[in-house]
Structures are given as structure tokens and as C-alpha cells.
Symmetry: C2
Subunit: 100 residues, 2 copies
């Protein structure tokens, strides 16, 4: 299980990153925060894609992508204030039934 | 150790949340992502403040705040692409030397 979040100023670059994350099966839990399960191969491939994005000329010095592997502990204790995403129940169910 | 991220549309409400997070000693690692250590008392107090923010009239149905307790595993394996925040080394050192 991973959490990946980004700060990317350039619209098209940000969209490129979002599309890659969704293509790798991650769920958008907030506008710039994604969660999901990646096996080691997928993790490496995704990281390579994101790294390539960070090498593009539109990438600015203040841009960043955070890749954070999560432990089951985090999923068991997370709290969401406000309305979770529409498909949150499904996401949570998926996250909880996947082996880390 | 916690990661707290938000999606809040209203500028003043978002600023209110950011100020609360910083006042509780969290570091801003991205524009809407904060990390830091909270003892149980602080966690409860902060959660109460954030919950109060989510009850204000400017809060919209698509707004959310994610509170995610992190395990040492996450800190040991995290990756940042791009330039980390200016004080990232200090933040990391602090995060790593704090008992979860």
C-alpha cells in the first residue's frame, strides 16, 4: 500500500502525473493525494515514470512528488474529516483486504 | 508520527487549517501535506480543532482532511522526487529520532 502526493505547478505536468497514478491503479483520495497498492514491479515502473516527469522542462524547483509506503497500522487508524470520496467505502474495502 | 493532508476550497478556511497544523508542530512537506509528531493529547486537541473547521459554513461538501498515523516503516522507505522542502534534512532527522 502506498500514498503518493504531489505539488506540481504546471497543469499539463500535473495531469500527466495524475494519469500515471490512476493508470497504475491508485485511487484519488484528495486532489493531489492518491492511495493504492503497488507490487514491487509496479512500484519501480511508476517511480520511473514519475521520475521522468520530474526531469521535464516544465518541472519547477518547488515541485515535488512524495512516495510513502504505508503500513497496515496507518490504514487501521486513519481518520477522514468531511465527506470522503464517493467510492471511499469501496476503496477502503479494497485497501483492507489487500496484503501489504 | 502523522501525515495530515487537506482539500479545502475556501482560502481562509484552508489558512485556518494550515495555521493549526503548524501551531501543533507539524512540518509542511507539500502545499497541502503536513507531517510531524503528535502525542495522544495533542492528536485529540488538533483533531477537535480540525473537526470544528469542518463544521464551519464555508466548508464545502467536497472538502476533506485526511489524518494518517504513520509507522516507522513509512519513514524508512519514503522517497521524494524533486526538491524537498528547504528544511527537509532537519525535518527528516527530527522524524527519525522521534519515537512513534
Amino acid at each position: 500500500m502506498h500514498l503518493i502526493s504531489y505539488d506540481i505547478q504546471h497543469d499539463r505536468l500535473r495531469l500527466k502525473a495524475a494519469k500515471a497514478l490512476i493508470r497504475f491503479g491508485l485511487y484519488r483520495v484528495q486532489y493531489s493525494v492518491f492511495m493504492g497498492t503497488l507490487d514491487l514491479g509496479a512500484q519501480k515502473d511508476l517511480q520511473k515514470e514519475l521520475d521522468a516527469i520530474s526531469q521535464l522542462p516544465q518541472w519547477t524547483p518547488s515541485d515535488s512528488i512524495l512516495i510513502l509506503p504505508l503500513h497496515q497500522y496507518s490504514l487501521n487508524h486513519q481518520i477522514t474529516l468531511g465527506n470522503p470520496p464517493e467510492d471511499w467505502d469501496m476503496i477502503q474495502q479494497n485497501l483492507h483486504t489487500l496484503v501489504l
